[in-house]
Symmetry: C2
Subunit: 151 residues, 2 copies
């Protein structure tokens, strides 16, 4: 009821402040990543690392990083062009795509790792474990609330 006392106008709504944070974090990440690997985007960097750590099909990876399949197709294409990735069909299911990190890709991941760690530490500086837990819990609730039942 009075829940929204301070969150009443569009400019003071949750989305507003959450989105502000996301944008600030992405900007920080992009700037720092560019210092160690020019010509790679935050999304590409994340996807590269996720592919490296998970042996999954393209759309499973997409789900993991919350990318639309169409977006994923295009991001992957760009990374193949830059020779970070290569693509092959899954032997057992030729609809599926298997993505492999190239040597160049692996070298880039090595460069990225410490910077990603730094970015996280920078963003979470002075946050307590408790706060992180709270944040996670609250965000989960909101995410849950926003789920649209698919019929």
């Amino acid at each position: 009821m009075s829940n929204n006392m301070k969150f009443n106008t569009p400019t003071t709504t949750v989305l507003y402040s959450i989105e502000e944070t996301v944008k600030a974090y992405r900007k920080l990440c992009q700037q720092n990543i560019s210092k160690v690997v020019p010509n790679i985007t935050v999304d590409q960097a994340l996807i590269l690392i996720v592919i490296d750590r998970n042996n999954m099909s393209q759309s499973e990876i997409a789900d993991l990083v919350f990318k639309d399949y169409a977006s994923m197709t295009r991001i992957v294409k760009l990374m193949i062009d830059k020779n970070y990735l290569s693509k092959a069909l899954d032997d057992h299911d030729k609809r599926k795509t298997k993505l492999k990190i190239t040597e160049l890709g692996k070298a880039i991941i090595e460069k990225l790792n410490p910077m990603i760690e730094l970015n996280r530490e920078t963003a979470l500086n002075a946050l307590t474990d408790k706060e992180l837990e709270q944040l996670h819990k609250i965000l989960s609730k909101i995410t849950q609330n926003c789920q649209i039942p698919k019929k």
Copy 2:
């Protein structure tokens, strides 16, 4: 130190879960907004309302909603094409743009308002005032941590 125990891989970092929430909320908003006003995007809807409530120049509005000026230019252009907005030069400073809501725009805002309220309520369902405060506080900290000093 052990701060990151559970937040160690890229897929479990803050950005990850914050971005998940943002995307879920945006999706909900878009679906609901489309029900009352087809052919408008979440961003356009937000900007329309913010323009209506604030008598500011284009870039001030952009700052308010965290849009890049270039993006703002294009969003505004689309909304002018759809006759939601009109544009005029500021009399005292001809570099500045004054945006005005058209009659059609005003009618659309009327349709949007209740849905925006509903979206917020849906997203924040079952969240306590305390949680909202915590969320706001934690997000502010992170946003602050991510600020890049501009020289």
